[in-house]
């Protein structure tokens, strides 16, 4: 009895708080019909927002992958003093409100900021321009790849790399052919989480973007601008853009579940091999 009551409450909670919001995104996006849905997505300003979001993710995700690989290699394969402080510092962006992260960039690069005068004199724009949006996104998604990779690289140890080096491989060969394949799934996992957050970031980007329609609006900012239009038609358009982001979230969730399933299957396989 208790069992089924608890299951019913849990399922009810999931239905109201997870499934209804998701279904509502797609229902509202199509409230004005498929024709309107496609028209809303094909709007030049929405297309510009989609393009900007893709560009920003295409710059910030590889940067954080590079950082994640370097940080994980240094932290997982070597012993040094201050390691736990370094890990805490890497996690720092997680405990900063996105709005405060944006404010930090304004303090550095805004017109009244530390580098504001210099940037202005050289005709460079960071705040209210694309570079600021990229910097904000890189800050917010900074820990994702490193966090996934550090434990995976720690778990694989250093014996395989030592063996490769003894057999005459150089450092890069060892990294490409030994280390990278062994952390492949952890890396993919980190990349999809980093990408989902990069494409969906709102608060930090909102502070530095300046909301210039067609130029510095990313998809989440476009959703807000359309929502504030406060007509039925613009609400449906807001949901149309939002439906793409919701689809991205579903894709991310699906891939994540698949990777976890693959991981447990691999662990079971190893366990049975060891047993037999």
């Amino acid at each position: 009895m208790t069992k089924w009551t608890l299951i019913a409450i849990a399922l009810g909670f999931c239905f109201v708080f997870l499934l209804l919001p998701l279904a509502n995104v797609f229902a509202q996006a199509l409230a004005q019909g498929w024709g309107y849905y496609w028209k809303a997505l094909a709007d030049p300003n929405s297309l510009a927002a989609i393009r900007l979001t893709l560009i920003v993710a295409a710059i910030s995700v590889p940067l954080n992958v590079l950082f994640g690989l370097a940080a994980a290699w240094a932290i997982a394969k070597f012993q040094f003093r201050g390691k736990s402080i370094l890990i805490t510092l890497i996690d720092l962006p997680f405990s900063v409100s996105p709005v405060v992260a944006g404010l930090m960039l304004v303090v550095l690069f805004g017109l009244q900021g530390f580098f504001g005068k210099w940037l202005d004199a050289h005709n460079l724009k960071i705040i209210f321009a694309v570079p600021g949006i990229v910097l904000a996104t890189v800050f917010i998604t900074f820990p994702f790849v490193a966090r996934e990779l550090i434990p995976v690289m720690q778990a694989t140890g250093t014996e395989q790399e030592q063996a490769a080096l003894t057999l005459g491989a150089n450092g890069w060969q060892t990294f490409w052919h030994v280390t990278l394949p062994s952390v492949k799934w952890g890396l993919i996992y980190g990349v999809i989480l980093c990408n989902a957050r990069a494409m969906g970031e709102f608060g930090a980007v909102s502070v530095v973007s300046g909301h210039i329609i067609g130029h510095t609006e990313t998809m989440p900012l476009r959703v807000q601008a359309l929502y504030e239009g406060a007509t039925k038609a613009s609400a449906a358009a807001a949901f149309a853009v939002a439906s793409l982001l919701a689809a991205l979230a579903l894709f991310t969730l699906g891939l994540k579940t698949f990777l976890e399933w693959k991981q447990t299957r691999l662990e079971r396989l190893i366990a049975t091999r060891v047993d037999s």
């Binding site: 109201v16 950082f67 070597f78 409100s97 405060v100 303090v107 550095l108």
Partner: protein
């Protein structure tokens, strides 16, 4: 320093150098910039800017709503984790996967769809609003958005702890004549408590900085539904940087206090775990 005698792997200098450079450029310099600007404020100015009536109302809502949402997450998260770990039922794997949905969904989309669900003509609002339960443009809306955003924390912190809980201890308690509720209250609950509190603190910390989902659902009315991060954005839009910085310092200080508390809780929680 790397202890070279144990480790012949190359690349420590390169990867560590890049890690420190990138960490400084992306995270530490922006932090330092904000800190320097904050220290330039006199104590009297800081106090005046950080404790205006409007700011105090915003803190009350931010911290109050975050706490309520975190407690709601602790209750439903514990229930969900329990049901997912202890019971077998159709759709269990699906529910387990969708628990992460709030992590994957961009906050702007979450705010948009929740606002529309609880609006007077929304799927939930059309039944709730006649009962006097208004979820859109009220403090309740802030709590709803924060509950959604924080949902995965308690579930994901508790799940591994529940999986590792030794069933034998419960069976022993039952053999010794303890009823089901007594077993739960005296055997299970104490060993789950540290993990539940850790999850609660994580959800609370996340909720305090949350911005994206709330701007859509709360209506942002001064003294009523205005959260502290929104007030920071507002001050920035008025180019009142000093006021924005003073508010940001209060939020950051709270985040770091919570970060410390979470670390202590995790140390406490790890004592309840069989050593891995």
């Amino acid at each position: 320093m790397a202890r070279k005698q144990f480790n012949a792997l190359p690349g420590f200098g390169l990867t560590m150098g890049f890690t420190l450079f990138y960490l400084s450029a992306i995270v530490l310099v922006p932090f330092a910039g904000l800190l320097i600007r904050a220290l330039e404020l006199s104590w009297a100015d800081f106090w005046r800017l950080a404790t205006t009536d409007r700011a105090l109302a915003a803190y009350r809502l931010t911290f109050g709503a975050s706490l309520i949402a975190a407690v709601a997450n602790a209750v439903f998260g514990t229930l969900l984790a329990w049901v997912l770990v202890r019971y077998e039922f159709p759709g269990r794997r699906f529910v387990d996967a969708v628990v992460d949905f709030p992590f994957a969904l961009p906050t702007a989309v979450a705010g948009l769809t929740l606002a529309s669900l609880f609006a007077a003509n929304g799927w939930l609002g059309r039944y709730l609003v006649p009962l006097g339960i208004r979820g859109a443009f009220t403090p309740l809306g802030v709590v709803i958005a924060l509950t959604f955003v924080g949902l995965p924390f308690v579930v994901r912190t508790l799940q591994p702890v529940l999986q590792n809980l030794e069933r034998e201890v419960e069976e022993a308690a039952a053999t010794l004549g303890a009823g089901r509720w007594r077993t739960f209250a005296e055997i299970i609950a104490p060993s789950l408590l540290p993990a539940v509190l850790t999850g609660l603190a994580l959800a609370f910390a996340r909720a305090i900085g949350e911005y994206g989902s709330i701007v859509f659902i709360s209506g942002n009315l001064p003294f009523k539904t205005e959260i502290a991060p929104y007030l920071i954005v507002l001050r920035l839009e008025e180019y009142d940087y000093t006021a924005a910085i003073a508010l940001a310092v209060v939020l950051l200080a709270f985040s770091f206090l919570l970060l410390g508390a979470i670390n202590l809780l995790q140390q406490w929680a790890s004592r309840f775990q069989p050593s891995s």
